[in-house]
Amino acid sequence: MLELRGLTKRFGGLLAVDQVDLAVKDGEIHALIGPNGAGKTTIIAQVSGSLDADAGEILFRGRDLTRLPQHARVKAGLARSFQITSIFRRFSVLDNLALAVQARSGSSLSFWRPVAGEKALFDEARAIADEVGLSRRLDLVAGNLAHGEQRALEVGLALATRPKLVLLDEPMAGMGPEESQRIIALIERIRARVTVLLVEHDMDAVFRLAERISVLVSGRVIASGAPQEIRANAEVRRAYLGDELAAG
């Protein structure tokens, strides 16, 4: 599905992403974990196209995306959610999702026909709202949603573009245990049709969901493999997981 080869990003003197090789297989949930500042969000930004790659290649379903602009990558089937909630705050929940659906269905260079009359857009938006658990909040202005609901909308906006691969950047950031459970259930539901690259600090969630895990430390992938292998990896434990998790 996705293959990174020697991906590199330099911010001045800081090597944020250092020759990262990473492969995400079709249909899997692949978790990318690592301490703060390891370069996880930078990789997400590079893959989604909001940041250029200084070196290396990004292959998506066999196609080289490295020099493609962000909107073309979305068209190719790649979507992302943001660590810091990024929604259209003054739009209603329904309008938020309809706008994302619109990006993948037909041309938006239509200046004359009222968009409000496009039933198909809003039907699909409602279906997404249902999926992320916001069907009772459709007409609410997004900025007025509770934090957990905004996070759900954040994921919904990514799903509404009908991606093949979705990059979820800490979807459970700032959530209570109950809300986290809802996002975990959501990811469980979509895993059948979407491949997921998941960046997350909640290790319970990561070990419950992920089929494979890659560990990023100081811009380098230090380990990649099945959850048991990662848990057992001495270097990973020293660098990130610590002993409590290995014990638990």
């Binding site: 003054r90 990006a103 200046f111």
Partner: protein, 313 residues
């Protein structure tokens, strides 16, 4: 819909009432309000809906005016040629200025649009062949055919009204279309709009060009209005005036620009000619400034927002 019919009725009746009151002078004033409403509406599209604070909109307004003026002086007075030419040149100017300016954001965008407009201002100031500093007097208004004499104030008023209505209808369609939604989404959250799959720069540029084209049409009309074009039309004060109209009326409110144009020009007309104010009439901008201050502080949605708020309450 009711609101639209009410406003349209008011605009249609205005010159008839003025004639009946023996105040035909105000028909010309009314046409001027309509023209500025069109120019301000074009700015509201980029500023209010697109979130692009263009501080150089006079460039497109003035370009449209000069195209009409220069063609008229050269003997080409047909509205069917001069006005589309004005629109085309203004759109082309918006394409070039927009393509460069839209690479910047925020304060830089404000400054660079201002700089481009001032550059164009100085170009026309030094254009001696067409009046330079003194501007250019037109031999008369454009010719339209169909037995319509635009020199007649009443005919002129209604022609301008028809064009303004057509432009407002077009803008209404645009802001409610797919394109309009994307433009508003970009204003709301550009990062997310890009991540959702919209080529943000292209959409903003398209919006900017449409806006510039409409400002160009307004410019063609203002050249006819007084049969005179001068570099003052491109001066930054003109850009500021359009911006004040939009802010007074309501940024991003559909009726904001027409309301703002009507209110500002009416204030100017009554205050600057007021005999009660005597010698102080010269300083008519002062009370206008106070009004603007109150609006910005207490009604950020402008007068249109106030009206809508009352109706809802």
């Amino acid at each position: 819909m009711k609101k639209t019919i009410f406003v349209l009725g008011l605009a249609v009746a205005f010159p008839l009432v003025m004639n009946a009151l023996d105040q035909a002078f105000y028909i010309g004033f009314g046409a001027r309000v309509l023209i500025y409403a069109m120019a301000a509406a074009s700015l509201n599209l980029v500023l209010g809906y697109g979130g692009m604070v263009s501080f150089g909109h006079a460039a497109f307004f003035g370009a449209g005016a000069y195209v009409t003026g220069i063609l008229a002086v050269e003997g080409l007075r047909s509205a069917w040629i001069a006005w589309p030419a004005a629109v085309a040149v203004a759109a082309a100017a918006a394409l070039v200025i927009g393509a460069l300016s839209l690479r910047t954001r925020g304060v830089y965008f404000i400054m660079i649009t201002l700089a481009f407009a001032q550059m164009m201002y100085y170009v026309f100031v030094s254009l001696k062949a067409y009046g330079g500093d003194d501007g250019l007097s037109l031999p008369g208004r454009s010719t339209l055919g169909f037995g319509l004499e635009l020199g007649d104030e009443l005919t002129w008023y209604y022609v301008v009204l028809v064009l303004l209505a057509a432009v407002l209808y077009l803008l209404h369609r645009i802001v409610h279309s797919r394109f309009g939604r994307v433009i508003e989404a970009i204003r709301e959250n550009e990062t997310r709009a890009a991540a959702t799959g919209y080529p943000v720069y292209g959409y903003k540029l398209a919006c900017f060009v449409i806006s510039g084209a409409i400002a160009g049409l307004a410019g063609a009309l203002i050249a006819n209005q007084s049969s005179y074009v001068g570099p003052g039309l491109l001066h930054w004060v003109q850009s500021g005036t359009l911006m004040i109209m939009v802010i007074l009326g309501g940024v991003g409110r559909f009726w904001g620009a027409p309301i703002g144009a009507a209110v500002l020009l009416t204030l100017e007309e009554t205050l600057s000619g007021s005999e009660a104010l005597g010698q102080y009439a010269l300083h008519w901008q002062l009370p206008v400034g106070v009004v603007l201050l109150v609006i910005v502080l207490y009604a950020p949605q402008g007068i249109a927002g106030l009206i809508a708020g009352r109706r809802r309450a």
